[in-house]
Symmetry: C2
C-alpha cells in the first residue's frame, strides 16, 4: 500500500496526461490553467488509498480519481466567479485572467470532462460509481447555495452551518473514498463506513480552518490571520460567539461586526471576545468529536487494522497542520 508521497506524483502525472481536444483553445486552456493552480490533491489520493485498502491495484481507480479532482477544481472555478475572488493560490482567477464568460463556459466543459473521466471506471462498478459521483456533485451545489444564502442572514444556527459545510466540502471527501472502495469491490457496509470517515474528517478539517483563521500561525498558515473576522464570515467561531454572548459582550460583538475601518483592532477585539466566551475551546472540542467519530469508522472497517494505516496517518496530518 502506498503512502501519500507515493500517490501524489501518480495523481499529478495522470492529470498531466489528460488528452484535451486541441480546439477551441480558449475553451480548454483555462481548464488546464485552473488545474495548474495546484492544490494538495487530497481527494484523488483518498480515492486511490481507499481502493488499495481493499487489496485492489490503485490503477483501477485512477480515472475516477482524476475525475474527482477535475470536478473539485471545476467547483473552485465557478465558486471564484460567484465569490468575486481575484486570486487563487497567488495567481489570478480564470475570470480575471480571461473573463467571466470564459470562466462560466470553461467551467461547464470542465464538469463534462470530469464525468467523462469517472465514466472510464471499470464496467462492473461504473453505474454505482456514477450514482455516488452525481449525488455528491448535486450536494456540493446545495452546500454552495446554503453558503451564499447564509451571507445575508444573521440567524444561522450551528446545525445549519454544519450541514452547509457537510454538503459544500465534506461530501466530496466521503464520495472520493467511497468511490475508491466501490471500485475495489468493498462491501456496502465498508463503503459506507469509509464515506462516513470522509464526512467526519471533512467536518473536522473545515472547523480546523475556522479555528486556524483566528488562532493559526501567520507564517505557516500562509493566509492573513483574522480574515474571517474582518469579513464577518459566519464560521463556527462567530456563530457560537453570537449564540453565547450576553449583555456587554453581546453589545461589544455587535459593535465590532458593524466596524470595517479598524482591521487590527477588530481582529484583536473579536479574538479576545472569542477567548472570553470560550468558543475556541468549543471549536477544538467539536473538532475532536468529529475526528474521534472518523477514527471509529476506520476501526469498524472489516479490513486488517494495518490496511487503515495510510488513511489514519493522512487524517492525523490533516488535523495536525498548523496552516
Amino acid at each position: 500500500m502506498h503512502k501519500l508521497q507515493d500517490l501524489l506524483p501518480v495523481v499529478q502525472q495522470a492529470l498531466d496526461a489528460i488528452d484535451y481536444p486541441q480546439a477551441p483553445a480558449e475553451l480548454y486552456t483555462p481548464i488546464q490553467y485552473e488545474l495548474s493552480l495546484g492544490g494538495k490533491r487530497i481527494r484523488p489520493v483518498l480515492t486511490l488509498m481507499a481502493c488499495e485498502m481493499f487489496g485492489c491495484d490503485y490503477h483501477y481507480a485512477l480515472d475516477a480519481a482524476v475525475g474527482i479532482e477535475m470536478f473539485h477544481n471545476f467547483t473552485l472555478l465557478h465558486d471564484d466567479v460567484m465569490d468575486k475572488a481575484d486570486m487563487r493560490r497567488g495567481k489570478p482567477t480564470v475570470h480575471i485572467r480571461w473573463n467571466e464568460n470564459t470562466a462560466i463556459l470553461s467551467g461547464d466543459a470542465m464538469q463534462i470532462l470530469a464525468y467523462m473521466q469517472v465514466m472510464k471506471s471499470p464496467a462492473a462498478v461504473r453505474d454505482v460509481v456514477c450514482v455516488v459521483f452525481l449525488q455528491t456533485a448535486l450536494e456540493i451545489c446545495e452546500g454552495q447555495q446554503y453558503d451564499m444564502e447564509f451571507e445575508t442572514r444573521q440567524d444561522v444556527r450551528e446545525e445549519e452551518y454544519i450541514e452547509m459545510i457537510r454538503l459544500k466540502t465534506a461530501v466530496l471527501l466521503g464520495g472520493a473514498l467511497k468511490i475508491g472502495a466501490l471500485i475495489a469491490g468493498a462491501s456496502d457496509d465498508d463503503a459506507r463506513r469509509l464515506y462516513d470517515f470522509g464526512i467526519n474528517i471533512g467536518l473536522a478539517f473545515q472547523l480546523r480552518d475556522d479555528y486556524l483563521d483566528v488562532y493559526g500561525d501567520a507564517k505557516t498558515f500562509g493566509k492573513n490571520i483574522g480574515g474571517d473576522i474582518l469579513n464577518n464570515k459566519k464560521t463556527y467561531m462567530l456563530i457560537n460567539a453570537q449564540r453565547l454572548a450576553q449583555g456587554a459582550e453581546r453589545d461589544e460583538l455587535i459593535h465590532w461586526l458593524a466596524i470595517d475601518d479598524k482591521p487590527d483592532e477588530k481582529i484583536a477585539a473579536v479574538t479576545a471576545l472569542y477567548n472570553r466566551l470560550g468558543v475556541d475551546a468549543l471549536c477544538l472540542e467539536k473538532i475532536d468529536t468529529y475526528y474521534a467519530e472518523a477514527m471509529k469508522q476506520l476501526d469498524a472497517l472489516s479490513v486488517e487494522k494495518l490496511q487503515t494505516e495510510m488513511l489514519r496517518e493522512l487524517a492525523m496530518s490533516l488535523m495536525q497542520r498548523n496552516s
Copy 2:
C-alpha cells in the same frame, strides 16, 4: 408510432413529474422556472420518435429524453448569462429574476440533474448512451465558445460558421436522435444515419433562422425582423455578403455595419444589399442542400419507409415554418 402532437404532452408530463429535492429551494426553483419558460420540446420528441422508429416502446427512452431537454435548457440558462439576455420567451431570464450567482449555480445543478436522468436509461445501453450524451454536451460548449469568439472577429469564413452552428445547435438534435435509436437497439449504421439526419436538419434549421430574421413575416415570426442586421450578427447572410461585396457595395456594407442609430434604414439598406448580392438565394440553396442530405439519411435507414414518416413530417414542418 406516435405523432408530434401525441408525444409533446408525454414529454411535458415527464418534465412535470421530475422529483426535485425540497431544499434548498432557491437552488431548484430557478431550474423549474427555466423549464417552465416553454419551448417546442423538439429534442426530447426526436428521441422518442427515434426509439419508436425501431419498434421499441418510447417509454424506454423517456428518461433520456427528459435529460436531453433538461440539458438543453441548462445551456440556455448559462447562455443567457453569457449573452446578457434580459428576456427569454417574454419572461425575465433567471439572472434577472434572481441574480447571476443563482443562474450559474442552478445551471450547474441542472446539468447534474440532466445526467442523472440520462443515467436512468436501460442498463444494456446506458454506457453507450452516456458516451454520446457527454460528447454532445462537450461539443455544445465548443460551439458556444466559437460563437463568442466570432463576435469580435471580422474574418469569419462560411465553413467556420457552419462548424460553429453544427456544434452549438445541430449536434444536440443528432445526439437526441442517436440516443433514441441506441435505446431501441438500432444498428450502429442506423444510429449514425439518424445522427447525420439530425445534424443536417439542425444546420438547415439554423440557416432558416438566419434567413427568416431578414425575410420572415414579422407577425408570424414573433421576433422583430432584422434583429441580426441591427446587431451585426455574423449569420450566413452577413458572412456571404461580406465575401461577395465588391467596390461600391462593399463600401455600402461597411458603412451600414458602422451605423447603429438608424435602425429602420439600416435594415432596409442591408436587406437590399443582400438581395443585390444574391445571398438570399444562396441561403435558400444551402438550406435545400442540407435538407436533401437529411432526407438521404432517412432513406438510407434499414427500416420500412413507413417508419420514417413521423420524422419526415417533423422535418418538413420545421422547414416550412414561417416563424
